[in-house]
């Protein structure tokens, strides 16, 4: 196995360039995945691993993980610690990195039944929030997820860590515009609900999500939905709160909304 000792090695530099730039990731349709568990999840989820880099220490410590990863990797390099530092987004790198091809866009659609609830995220700025929301969506049920406007990148290092690999399996689709996407969903028979913090909006607990097809649209952490997108929704909904409502963060609000979309009480006899 070839060993890379120089931080100037072109393969390493090319991999490191994917770390900080979402444009680089988009143009090359590649991303860099870090950590034993995340890299193993990439392999297990069918993500194409072009190159795996690992340190001698990682080989000792993460033998079981590495076995699975190396079975899927097209090429493999041993690297020294300073090289690992260059590829890492964390303070204490585990020393395992995979340069991967973008997950197939079709994966999501292929698995999703056509009347699954939809989640649309508009201008979400925090990669930790995006990752957490994808992780929660994957845990609670089957969703179709769409990113609108200027959302952060689900394949950035921070979003990947927060998603625990959910982005490998629940790949969010992009959309050209709110108008194009929301009209498409309307034509598929979806009711479109825009989530807002306003007390005057319809309480989410007043909607029977067990009937029909539903889409919830969540906006930017600070400024909420754009006026254009809010205007395209069938109605505006809100989470009724008895506490210090301004404290609810975006990921927690999304968790409540995702849960309500799938929630089946005892009374309607469809509890899963």
């Amino acid at each position: 196995m070839e060993r890379i000792t120089s931080r100037r090695n072109p393969l390493v530099r090319s991999a490191a360039a994917l770390l900080g730039s979402s444009r680089e990731r988009r143009e090359r349709r590649e991303f860099l995945c870090e950590g034993a568990r995340l890299c193993r999840d990439a392999a297990a989820s069918g993500v194409k691993i072009k190159t795996c880099f690992f340190t001698p220490r990682a080989r000792e410590k993460y033998r079981g993980y590495l076995e699975r990863i190396l079975g899927a990797a097209e090429s493999v390099y041993m690297i020294e610690d300073p090289v690992a530092g260059l590829l890492s987004d964390t303070k204490s790198p585990q020393g395992i990195f995979c340069l991967c091809a973008w997950p197939r866009q079709a994966a999501n659609n292929g698995q999703a039944a056509p009347d699954e609830p939809c989640l649309v995220l508009e201008n979400l700025q925090d990669p930790g929030n995006l990752g957490t929301i994808l992780r929660t969506a994957e845990a609670l049920g089957r969703f179709r997820v769409f990113l609108l406007g200027d959302c952060c990148d689900p394949l950035s290092p921070k979003a990947l860590r927060a998603s625990m690999g959910a982005a490998f399996r629940l790949w969010p689709e992009g959309a050209a515009s709110a108008e194009e996407l929301l009209w498409r969903l309307k034509n598929e028979g979806y009711s479109i609900h825009g989530a807002v913090p306003a007390e005057t909006a319809r309480p989410v607990t007043g909607i029977d999500f067990t009937k029909g097809r539903h889409t919830v649209v969540i906006g930017n952490e600070g400024s909420g939905l754009t006026r254009e997108t809010a205007g395209l929704c069938h109605d505006l909904i809100t989470i009724p709160m008895g506490g210090r409502a301004e404290s609810l963060n975006a990921a927690a609000a999304a968790t409540v909304l995702l849960w309500e979309l799938l929630r089946r009480g005892e009374s309607d006899g469809t509890a899963e």
Copy 2:
């Protein structure tokens, strides 16, 4: 105003000692709070600020925040950047720090009506999870929160950041033992529900939380409730999930449970 230029200054060393040691915080009944917004929230929430340290740059940048903080601080020092580095838990410190007395333990009880729902956290290890859960609890409604066993410290830098200051207002009570606490709550008429990931447990959607008093007990992120605590609960409940259930993280699970505890549907006519 006195100016501190040396990292060896005893006041600074004493404040820095609170950063990394929960034992130090407990024994001195003090903690260190960092950042413009968090320090301002401490002042606004009536936390006793013994000393405020800030850099000249912070004075320019966070004038509005500082005004409020300095109005509440008993003593104030200007510090140089290297001193700020010693007091900080973050990569890019804002340069504002408050050495505070512990929030009054009574604050929580004083505000809480006796039949508010209770949240008991057992052996919660991740300060980010603890902070997020406190923040969500404060947002959604009024809760009494208890920490059981070997929980992480709500006043650690990471927990404080994640809680956005919720710990100042919703101070979690400690408890000597699960037995002592859960019997006390039983005597107050609470039903005690232990949250577990087992599919055989009772679905949380099958319980009418609008009637009676309810306590939900959440266990450690990896190992769940201890056998002793699970045995003391009236029943075991679970979040029914249609997706990759192992992906739900502790804070998201807590969000769903807190939401269910307070949730009022249209049908029961008590929507808030």
